[in-house]
Symmetry: C2
Subunit: 160 residues, 2 copies
């Protein structure tokens, strides 16, 4: 209702981020879309997997590959609530995804426009399009609220 197509899918990525929060993961979510259908949904699994490879984008890429039976995600777009880091930007290039849509910008590690714009580097053999700032405020507030509550909890547990 009043949402653009891109905002509609970003809402689904936000829903994934919230599922991550429920199991105490940093709330970042992603969905992969092909032909107007969501073919993969994922949230950050770093803590659960005990490995920083498991950012939401990486898990979403793997699930999309499984669904399509192909490592090439041609004709696919990803919607992710936070600007991809170097690892995830590289993975999206390697996976040959068409479009990267992200929510909040990441001033510390963002590699889709902030520190670098890796997907748009002409020297790589594939160049996904990039568009940031989709439901930026909602995506960013989810993260800032999560960290605020986490710090509060840590203070509480220290004073107990």
């Amino acid at each position: 209702m009043g949402y653009t197509e891109q905002e509609k899918y970003m809402k689904k990525a936000i829903a994934q981020a919230k599922l991550g929060w429920k199991i105490d993961e940093v709330p970042i979510g992603a969905v992969v879309v092909k032909n107007d259908e969501i073919i993969a949904r994922a949230h950050n699994l770093k803590e659960k997997k005990g490995c920083a490879n498991y950012h939401a984008e990486m898990v979403a890429i793997e699930r999309a590959c499984k669904k399509l039976g192909d490592w090439r995600l041609v004709g696919c777009d990803i919607y992710v609530t936070l600007e991809p880091c170097a690892m995830c930007s590289g993975a999206l290039i390697n996976a040959r995804i068409d479009n990267i849509y992200f929510g909040a910008y990441d001033p510390k590690a963002g590699c889709c426009g902030t520190l670098y714009n890796l997907p748009q580097d002409k020297r790589f053999n594939h160049r996904p399009n990039v568009q940031g700032g989709i439901l930026e405020q909602e995506c960013g507030e989810l993260l800032s609220t999560y960290f605020k509550e986490k710090r509060k909890k840590n203070v509480d547990s220290r004073t107990r």
Copy 2:
């Protein structure tokens, strides 16, 4: 036997690359070393997994994390036969690895000195040291021979 410490571990990474070749993966191998002990060995698994996330470095990182029970690979070094791409360079930064030693330089996708030197970017919150060119010729020839044979096979199958 005339090998430096670094060449000794690169030899182990090369052995992994050759195991990859046996199952028709592009022959790239990696080992993770902590306190003079190899804690993880891996080769490229992209074809087998049907997903380009499974570069040798990514698999090695995950196995090392499992072994240590920690997503932080502090005090660990990686030895990999080919210069890490953007994804793998980013993953090694995220995993907080100490040193990245690689064999052959990758003119098309290398992000540890060739196209970028991501691990040495002061804006990221961790900066692994990087040293390339260890047993460079052997690592490079493994790849060029693999691709030469693959092209030959393809031509053979087309003419049959």
